[in-house]
Amino acid sequence: MELLSVKGLVKDFKGLRALDNVNIDVHEKDIFGLIGPNGSGKTTLLNVITGFLQPTAGEILFKGQPITGLKPHEVAKRRIVRTFQLTSVYPGLTVEQNIITGSYLKSSTGVLESFLYTGKYRREKKALDEKTREILAFTGMEKQKNVLASNLAFGDERKLEIGIALATDPELLLMDEPAAGMNPEEQSRLMQMIRLLSQKGITMIVVEHNMKVIMGVCTSIACLCYGRNLATGCPEEIACNEEVISVYLGKTRLG
């Protein structure tokens, strides 16, 4: 069964139709690549799915339940979490605090319990600390845990962003150009990380221009063009698709 299914999605910005009858189906444990020329509606699609934009028409189903038109925090409560195209962290907090903040959805103790310092609060704090350590280890940021996020190098910021998303314990993770601005070494580490996350059972949608990353990790790819579905299939099919080559990949073969 599809984990996420987008049906006939339309998004208009005044006169411009940014998404025009887009259909995609993401299966459980997929690493779903979303490609297409600039302005083809990839980020808009991500914004509509995660509730940052309201669709003009169409339907989004998550596990068979409609999530169309929900607010961002309500979408997140269904364990659909995104990262942003322009790296997005909490600049004034340390790396560790960033990740703890990300685990907001996992915590349930209120001010009163914190005020009275109840057993529940302390147990939960311990669990959160444990989880935070785990994520710091996974992203390889243990040594930087007390560094302010605003002082991080760009590549580390991207890692932290994924760390924050992981802290929410997502089922579906949507990444908007995670490899942008990364050097080849960082890119291969990112690919490794994506594969590991997939093994952990997280389904992913990856918007990316870097074909090495897309072809290297994705199990399924959709190509958008002017807000329409151009092609969908496995990486090999997409790489050979004449239309995709003509609008996006170009004549030089990649991947």
Binding site: T50, F52, K71, P72, H73, A76, K77, V81, R82, F84, S88, V89, Y90, P91, G92, L93, T94, Q97, I100, T101, G102, Y104, L105, S107, S108, T109, G110, V111, E113, S114, F115, Y117, N146, L148, I164, A165, A167, T168
Partner: protein, 317 residues
């Protein structure tokens, strides 16, 4: 701090100590908005005034309250409701400068209302002869006893804010300040938490207003005016935001600094203005974090020069 009124037996100094503690609570409450929410409220003194006037109305004008403690609770509640309504309406769409303008406008409206509706509010004469708080046989009607009572509430406020910062609620508010979109995408309902934080800040300001009324036993509509607004801003900006010590230090600087310099009032204000400018220009996060850095450096230097470990971010922000 408990010993202070016993060391300084002078009436005037004791009076200032009382003001210092009350203003510290007020400044801490504003820091929830300015420091942790990262917003500006130029109408925070309205919550202080509402707290004070609730006590005045209930205890004196309408004589409804059987106990001053009930008036205190009512004062906090009225201020909280005020904060909730303002937050509910204003925070839906406005942040930053626009919120500052809205809150400023509310301050102006409330001042005018309090002066002109003099049949109800007593106008510029205000309300006097407010009965003091008491527990058992102990009445908090002297400088020393009321100071200790206020100190208790200050401690409570500090502890509350400290625990709040370590709760889901506090972390969510800081997350929204740092990056609202990211906060939303991780499941934080930014609007709801901002309204709640605004309500909390107003409630605490209301508490300081109640204590103010019980201590001075007379209140005037000046509480709603720009003097108290500027006072609050100065205390938070000069003392330092995003720390528990900052607003308290700011209150001390404001209360003692402004009065213990033995010059004519106008000269003092000029000097004080210069200090504020200096702080804004050179100590952008206030005096307190600056002192803290010096303290860390000194302890590191004493531990042994050359072995200094990189100063870690100790403050919760």
């Amino acid at each position: 701090m408990i010993a202070l009124p016993f060391i300084f037996t002078d009436d005037y100094v004791r009076y200032l100590l009382n003001l210092f503690v009350i203003y510290a609570i007020f400044a801490l409450s504003l820091d929830i908005i300015m420091g942790y929410m990262g917003q500006y409220s130029f109408g925070h003194q309205v919550a202080l005034g509402l707290g004070a006037y609730s006590v005045g109305f209930l205890s004196v004008t309408w004589k409804l309250s059987p106990s001053p403690w009930l008036s205190l609770l009512a004062g906090v509640a009225v201020a909280a409701v005020f904060g909730f309504i303002i937050g509910f309406v204003a925070l839906r769409a406005t942040r930053g400068v626009y919120l500052a303008i809205i809150t400023f406008g509310i301050g102006v409206i409330m001042t005018t209302v309090m002066y002109t509706a003099y049949k109800t509010t007593g106008g510029s004469r205000g309300i006097a002869l407010i009965p003091p708080l008491s527990i058992g046989g102990l009445t908090f009607n002297t400088d020393v006893t009321s100071y200790l009572l206020e100190l208790f509430f200050l401690g409570l406020t500090v502890y509350l804010i400290h625990r709040w910062l370590n709760s889901r609620f506090g972390r969510a508010v800081v997350a929204v300040r740092e990056n609202e979109d990211l906060a939303k995408s991780t499941g934080i309902n930014s609007y709801r938490y901002y309204v709640m934080a605004f309500t909390l800040a107003s409630a605490l300001a209301g508490l300081s207003g109640c204590l103010f009324a019980f201590y001075l036993r007379a209140i005037t509509p000046a509480l709603f005016g720009t003097d108290y607004m500027i006072m609050a801003l100065i205390m938070v900006v000069v003392g330092g935001t995003r720390s528990l010590g900052g607003p308290i230090l700011g209150s001390a600087i404001y209360v003692f600094g402004l009065r213990l310099i033995p010059y004519a009032k106008e000269t003092v204000l000029v000097i004080f203005g210069a200090i504020v400018l200096f702080c804004i220009l050179f100590l952008q996060r206030g005096v307190y974090p600056w002192l803290e850095t010096i303290f860390t450096r000194v302890t590191e230097w004493r531990r042994r020069p050359g072995e200094a470990s990189g100063g870690q971010a100790s403050e919760q922000t």
